[in-house]
Amino acid sequence: MTAMDTQTLVERFYTLIAPELPNEWDVEEAVESLVDDPMLESILAQVPVIWPVSNSLCYNYLGLVQKALVCIRESDLPSWVNETLDHYEVGGLRAAQQFMLDVERNFVCRMQGRGGVRLAEVAGWLLPYVQGLAGGRLDLAAAETAFTDTGTLYLPAELTHFDREKDNTTLYKLLASYQWSFIHQNTFFPEFPGQNSGDQHNEGLEHFLNSFSEPQLAARLYHTLETLRIGFFLQKELPGLMRSTRRMRKALFPATAHDGEEASVLSVLDQQCCLLETRPTAGMELWYTEILSRLTAGDAGPETSVTLCRTLYDRVLEESKKEYVEAPVLFQGELCLQSVYAARQRQRQLIEEDFIDGLSTYLLTLPEAKGFIEEQQEKEPGEGRVQGIKPS
């Protein structure tokens, strides 16, 4: 194929999307960098596929495709685009953009069928590992995303983010360690003023989050602040793990499309969740240095994140109106308060049942009870009215 100049390329583009006639300098900006690309034909071949679905996505595609082609084969481009469109259908423009940005972790491994690690492969040692961390019973199970109900750590059934199997294996360990830390560090049960201290059965966090105009956004903010706090905790508690995952965590920081503009609160927090800089640096925003000192203080707890969440919410809300809220960093996982509360409820029931069992067993040993039971048995043989009370 012959090299084209930008003008020829723009015209080529118009023929591909005819009869539409978008603004010429938008088109020019989008295709400019492709002029000398040896894979130009394959790249352009996808334009008629994407354009009718979303013009913006098509421009995005043109901006990102060269980076993607570093990772994927030219022949895999059509299926990559198809998958991008799947994401568009399900999650809209942002989801599709995110998918394209994450080409390395989302697509490459799967296409090449290497490097991926399944939970089933690591569970043999990961389960004793988390039980060691927890100092007792804690289960593992597969799920879409990482989260915990405090009795079980749910982790993705497969991890393919990195090329190397070793890295994905370590990623499992990192995910599990974060989820355990949320439990250990009381993320789900911050104390609120006026509440009995140490009350593990409160649903205070949910009430707190619901008090904001956008509870989902508040939850995202709170959970990210907690992830940051837990990161600092893990640096002290499991320094080896945090050292060995430094490079990996940097790679997981979601690339953001905007350059130059002032970074949003959430994107700074996300980034710091990965970098975990413990000392203020030159480029650090002033507001963040305050957060840093609060979250790294010796007495930092989930209550610290509650306070910071209150302080930062308005600004985050403001920013969310201008800019799409990205997914949090991978190891943050999801905050599933409903499962946490349900698990607590089940646990409480078990304890109550145990207590009732114990109490009734004790009552039955009392002389009065013996007399009573005998009396009952005489009256109604085989069908004591003291049902549910099991003599031991």
């Binding site: 590992y129 060691g132 100092g135 360690s177 320094p239």
Partner: protein, 270 residues
């Protein structure tokens, strides 16, 4: 007699052994000693039972005669037997008899391992009779006030076959040992293993993690003893990533998955 005295001197503990008390065990043992009651020390391996006995022996200024029980250990091994020398039979006291006669402390380590017939001689010694029957000589030795009987046993790997009979257990004042609370254990590891506080704490945390693997099939996690051993390897210049597997991981299990899990714990911590 002279020989016995020399033999006993070997069992005297002159220098105060380092023992960090973690509860009221010293007071209880002291009271039991004054009342002539025997002691039963329960607890996992390497948690300080032997060290405690050494400390008591020093404190009470009595020789400490320790017998490690095993499944071949018979009454004769404890009480004594006739030996033939130069064609003549003569009686040789066993360690228990020696201890009773001398008013020493006799510590039967891992008592459940011994043959069942040994309990026959322990029973009259462990109740208010405080006497040791030596059947073969037709002799009944009364224990002096200074004599103390102590036995240890590890409930961690008790089995139905190898459990103490109630009639045996119920003769003893029982002290339940466990690994000391983290701060205490770190202090012990720091001092005995010669490592700094920070590292001792991490080692204790590591041990704690291995001790919660019962559900995963590890009956006993890393003991205080193992942590001290890591410390000693480190002092010899072995690096932590080599010392931990050698002194801890491999000593705990052969199961590949448990090995992997424990390795991952170590690499997370250090």
């Amino acid at each position: 007699m002279e020989k016995d005295r020399l033999q006993l001197d070997e069992h005297r503990i002159v220098d105060e052994p380092y023992y960090l008390s973690t509860g009221s065990e010293i007071e209880v043992a002291e009271a039991a000693y004054r009342e002539g009651l025997p002691l039963l020390l329960k607890g996992p391996t390497g948690c300080g039972k032997t060290r405690f006995m050494q400390y008591l022996a020093w404190r009470f200024e009595r020789p400490l005669i320790t017998v490690s029980c095993h499944d071949d250990l018979s009454t004769s091994d404890l009480v004594g037997r006739y030996l033939i020398r130069a064609g003549e039979a003569f009686w040789a006291d066993g360690p228990l008899t020696l201890a009773v006669r001398a008013g020493a402390i006799c510590y039967l380590d891992e008592i459940v391992e011994a043959r069942k017939d040994t309990t026959v001689v322990i029973h009259p010694l462990a109740d208010d009779r405080r006497e040791l029957p030596i059947e073969k000589r037709g002799e009944l030795v009364s224990a002096p006030a200074e004599f103390m009987l102590a036995v240890s046993y590890n409930p961690g790997y008790q089995s139905v076959l190898k459990d103490l009979k109630p009639s045996t257990r119920q003769r003893f004042v029982s002290l339940s040992f466990d690994y000391p609370a983290p701060e205490f254990e770190a202090e012990i590891v720091c001092r005995e293993g010669g490592v700094d506080t920070e590292l001792a704490r991490t080692l204790v945390r590591f041990a704690g993690m291995t001790r919660s693997l019962k559900d995963s099939g590890l009956a006993e996690g890393a003991s205080t003893r193992l942590l001290i051993q890591v410390g000693k390897l480190l002092n010899q210049g072995i690096d932590v990533n080599t010392a931990c597997p050698a002194a801890i991981t491999e000593s705990l299990t052969d199961d590949p998955e448990l090995l992997a899990a424990i390795d991952e714990m170590a690499s997370s911590l250090f």
